[in-house]
């Protein structure tokens, strides 16, 4: 009899533990986590998304905060396929504690190829010493209030705002990266990389080049304004403005009580222990639990695309339980060696707004979480790289 009773006791303890876990989960949910969410909206006017308005936006070309010292070279290309990265989104996230972070922008770039993203997901587990390659990159740029690029007064929003200086030349094809190289024939069109130069050549510059050279010969003093990059041709993502809301603004008033007198087939007071078994089959499993709480959390505002919180108590909202980083996997800040903290995460709803196709090889992610330097350190590099973590949906069905 003894082994049986022991089994029964241990089973009960197990079930109690489970109840404990469930209870803890619920209590966590009740703690008011202060999270800001971002929504996408069509901009009222594309002028509002220029850099002197300090926008938070998605798609199109980035509005570089520091217009001169842009990231170049290896930081602007995907480490796997060597294509220049495509601009995903930027957010304006100033920190009011320090003077140096009066203006603070975070830029997210990623390679639109799913193959690179899969490889990135594998490499992000590696230690920094192994020099892992990435296809998703985040840059942070901050400026004090009094700086050389913008006036120290807030923009007047009356249509007359202008930045103080003209920025560096951007690539004629993507309009994203700095145009360091120039077209060898007309010496006017800037490009960020050979690949973009080749594409622009094929899709129209071949004809324009001659015209430019012709114009140069006749009128050498005029500075030719290049046409703005053709967004459709180079497949930039559609441009949206990001609107910010507090998550708690969406808490609904107490749920209306669907009448408790719903007829049930069996009287309510009958209880049974074997329901635990049923629970296991239909509820449990870590992945499903995290998915369920993920769904519940986003159901408050289903069209959110970004979740932001610099509060140290807040954890990122993971859709799945597999593929989460532990403390070991998150490295120290590259510049000041301080610790990183979770700042914001990009939700998969963004893919819907970007109009990404849904083929078997098109871009898809579960969540992209960005960790930034807790101290938001300063260094001579203007655009500092931060750490990203991508969680993808498993390709094979996980039972």
């Amino acid at each position: 009899m003894d082994p049986d009773t022991n089994d029964i006791i241990s089973f009960q303890e197990l079930s109690l533990d489970k109840e404990n876990e469930l209870e803890e989960l619920e209590e966590e949910d009740e703690l008011e986590e202060y999270v800001t969410v971002g929504f996408l909206e069509k901009p009222k006017h594309p002028k509002f998304l220029l850099r002197h308005r300090f926008p938070s936006k998605t798609g199109g070309a980035p509005a570089w905060l520091d217009p001169l010292d842009l990231p170049t070279g290896k930081s602007s290309i995907c480490d796997f396929c060597e294509e220049p990265l495509q601009f995903l989104l930027q957010i304006y996230a100033p920190i009011s504690d320090k003077e140096s972070t009066f203006h603070r922008m975070l830029y997210v770039f990623l390679c639109p190829s799913m193959i690179c993203l899969l490889q990135n997901q594998y490499e992000q587990w590696k230690h920094r010493e192994e020099d892992p390659r990435r296809s998703v990159k985040v840059f942070r740029c901050q400026l004090p209030r009094f700086n050389a690029f913008y006036s120290s007064e807030p923009p007047r929003r009356d249509g007359n705002d202008k930045p103080l200086i003209v920025g560096a030349a951007l690539c004629s094809w993507c309009g994203t990266w700095k145009g360091e190289k120039v077209c060898s024939s007309c010496k006017r069109a800037p490009y960020c990389s050979k690949k973009h130069q080749a594409r622009h050549w094929k899709s129209g510059h071949k004809i324009q080049c001659h015209q430019i050279i012709g114009n140069l010969e006749t009128n050498s003093s005029s500075v030719l304004r290049e046409k703005p990059p053709d967004k459709v041709a180079c497949r930039l993502w559609p441009e949206y403005e990001m609107v910010i809301e507090d998550e708690c603004a969406f808490d609904l008033e107490g749920s209306e009580d669907i009448s408790c007198e719903t007829s049930s087939l069996v009287p309510k007071h009958v209880t049974d222990d074997t329901y635990q078994f049923l629970l296991d089959k239909f509820e449990a499993d870590d992945n499903k639990k995290s998915w369920a709480s993920f769904q519940e959390r986003i159901s408050k505002c289903p069209s959110q695309v970004l979740r932001y919180s610099r509060d140290l108590m807040v954890n990122p909202l993971w859709p799945l339980s597999i593929g989460r980083p532990s403390l070991v996997n998150i490295p120290k800040c590259k510049y000041c060696n301080g610790s990183l903290c979770y700042e914001f995460q990009i939700m998969p709803q963004l893919l819907y707004y970007l109009g990404v196709k849904n083929d078997s090889d098109s871009l898809d992610w579960g969540v992209i979480v960005i960790y930034t330097c807790l101290a938001s350190c300063e260094s001579n590099v203007r655009y500092k790289e931060e750490f990203t973590w991508v969680q993808l949906y498993p390709t094979a069905p996980v039972t």
Binding site: L22, E23, Y34, T36, F39, R53, F54, S56, I91, Y92, A93, P94, S96, F102, H103, R104, P154, P155, V243, I244, E245, D246, A249, L252, S255, E256, D257, I258, C260, T262, S263, S264, L265, V266, K268, V270, D272, T274, Y275, F277, L278, K281, F282, E283, W291, Q295, P302, S303, S309, D311, L312, F344, M347, Q349, Y352, Y353, N358, S360, Y393, P397
Partner: protein, 277 residues
Amino acid sequence: MAERGAGDRGGFGRGFGRGRGDRGDRGRGGRGRGRRGGGRRDEEEKWVPVTKLGRLVKEGKITSLEQIYLHSLPVKEHQIVDTLLGGRLKDEVMKIMPVQKQTRAGQRTRFKAFVVVGDSDGHVGLGVKCAKEVATAIRGAIILAKLSVVPVRRGYWGNKIGKPHTVPCKVTGKCGSVTVRLVPAPRGAGIVAARVPKKVLQFAGIEDVYTSSRGSTKTLGNFVKATFDCLMKTYGFLTPDLWLETRFSKSPFQEYTDLLAKPTKAILIENSETIEA
């Protein structure tokens, strides 16, 4: 981070991480976003899919649940089932059961809800959810039930005239100590079963069936799950008309790989949709 200087706020205009004190700006937020927070009813129209399957369904590339079943794709969003089955889906609460846990301050009671959903035409789902309030539990259970919708195969008892009305063969399902056996019945027999499995079978769209059960059927959870298990098995049973080899088609997620490089000789069979001939 909680303290924000009242004077020099960081940045111009709206930015992230502005702090709780920023109530002034909420005016615009309230006006603009009020409708987002407000009507719960227009949740379905505002569904923004989170998974690729969801995006495919929202686009309209996938038109029936059978396409999803064919490739065994996991359904992670209940709105997918809502969109595909639409208004035909009905739900019923089978039982609300209070469960209690002993704490220092007394007992903490939560409610467990068992919900069955179905469209009376070959799809059933079962969901179980425990929550502090009855309404929350029911809502959660309905969502879980939608996620677990499975197809039910129906067949004939004798002459193959008219639509299928009964199970195609004798099937049995087991859960705990309860075993439920479904036996094909002639037309007009009706569902000969206890109250609990009868409900599930009605939702499945089975019109006539004989049942036989064994074990402690008083335990409603096991009884319902055994019936559900039984219905799941109807499509797992290999009958002679399924003897022909199937030619596999490309799943929406699978790439054009070695699957089609192998030579296959069979005729394509749409094994989910056809009525039994």
